[in-house]
Amino acid sequence: MANFDLKDRTAIVGVGNSQYGRRLMRSPIDLAADAIANALDDSGLSRDELDGMIVSFGSPIGADADAIAQLLGLKLRTYNQTWAHGRFTASCIQWAAMIVNAGMADAVACLASVSFSGMRRPMMGGASDREGAREAGGGHGEDPAYGMTSPGAGAALVARRYFDRYGTNSRALASVPVAFRKHASMNPAAIMREPFDVEEHQQSRYVCEPLHLLDYCLINDGAACVIVTTSERARDLKQPPVYISGMQGLPGGSEEFIWAYPGLGVVQQSVFEYEAGLQPVYKMAGVTPKDIDALFTYDAFSILAWIALERFGFCKPGEAPSFTQNGRIEIGGELPINTNGGLLSEAHIMGWNHQVEIVRQLRGEAGLRQVTNAEVIQWANAYGDSIIYRK
């Protein structure tokens, strides 16, 4: 049950990012310094006022919280860090909100800083990836003994199951990456800005069939940071606050799988017709999906946008393929999704670049990508965690 007392009690007061790019040849701590310094500048807070930090996705691909704090000369009262998986973005911001509410820190920098392209190629899914050797297998469904490895393979397994269950296909799915690339074409910070169409998507090579290369996110370097404090304090700072209105955590258990909602019937999930109901995040924020002006979702793979739409009740199971056609999820459409271009086209900063874009949208700073009258924006993921922000 969501805690309504926390509604609008905390806010994001500063956002910052480093350059995004491939083979930047800069260490994650170096990139983190840019993102944190830019977020502090944006907020008007001084370095010494930053007394909390939550790092998503530390080593071996990113910078660890203790090292960042030490090398940047921070004085932290509370810090924490998640397992190196992109699914923890919302959780980090949620914990920051709880930490400042509990008085364990006053201003918390939440960030990820990564150097994917600086790693040796097999890091994700290959011989040096230990995910598949975990007791009970990898978090993305890895089972290397049968050649099942890499996060994308788990998403491909979900895509095939979804195609089969709802009678759709890769051609319908293309509308998702096509839309996000179109958004990236309006984003000077995006790494990939050249638009493509459905035919180009269909002709791009398969990586793990049925997913094509253009269904896969980028592999790059970069850092992004948001600073969370209490709403009371936020009102005295430089920027208009972006309030954290509602939130819900990351669900777990055998009916859950990182890339699917319950009932879809992959891994050990039961098969049933999933009903989104009114998720706790909406109850806490006091809104419904109809009030959401733009949606942001973790798009490591295109299929995840379909799953997120259905998990959060924007449409019913099986309806996402039609929901995402004809420009509806594009800027100017009924529900713009990932206006920055997402992980698929802007950059793969584990969704932290999406948080920065959400704040810029709610402040009206998104330039060509600006969603008209954006007041309520949701971060909602295939795997069930969510935050609703409002200006």
Partner: protein, 142 residues
């Protein structure tokens, strides 16, 4: 000679105290999973207790080795050097008749002929002296 000297270079399963009986059974060419002595549930992956009723009393039950393809993927990229000569290769998620799903490879079928709900049966592949993998082959539907 090359045959007997060739080592198996693909990844091998991670054996733990929980899943040891599973791999021991495969080596004896038996597919066995834990079945709860209380509620009768059969589950996978191996767990210290019944995920349904939390009973710690269970039996490693012999399964039929039969099931159907629930989902599948085809790898066009090799993540391990040892798989480079196999691409494109399939990985199937088999839903066993007894309920649990396992990942495996489907042999004796072209990748483009794999279909959801295809009936399959287990094939024991002795990949090393210690490890036998549970692979699958199509079976006639009946």
């Amino acid at each position: 000679m090359a045959e007997s000297e060739s080592r198996y270079l693909k990844p091998l399963p991670a054996i733990s105290s929980l899943n040891q009986p599973y791999w021991d059974a495969l080596k004896r060419r038996e597919l066995r999973m834990q079945q709860c002595d209380g509620c009768g549930r059969i589950w996978y992956p191996p767990s210290p207790l019944c995920p349904g009723c939390w009973s710690r009393k269970f039996t490693w039950t012999l399964l039929s080795g039969r099931g159907r393809v629930n989902s599948w993927v085809v790898f066009h990229q090799a993540y391990f050097h040892s798989y480079e000569n196999d691409i494109p290769y399939n990985v199937v998620e088999v839903e066993l008749d007894e309920g649990p799903r396992i990942l495996s490879n489907l042999l004796d079928v072209a990748n483009h002929d794999i279909r959801a709900r295809m009936p399959v049966e287990v094939y024991f592949d002795d990949v090393t002296d210690e490890i036998t993998l549970a692979k699958f082959k199509p079976r006639a539907s009946e």
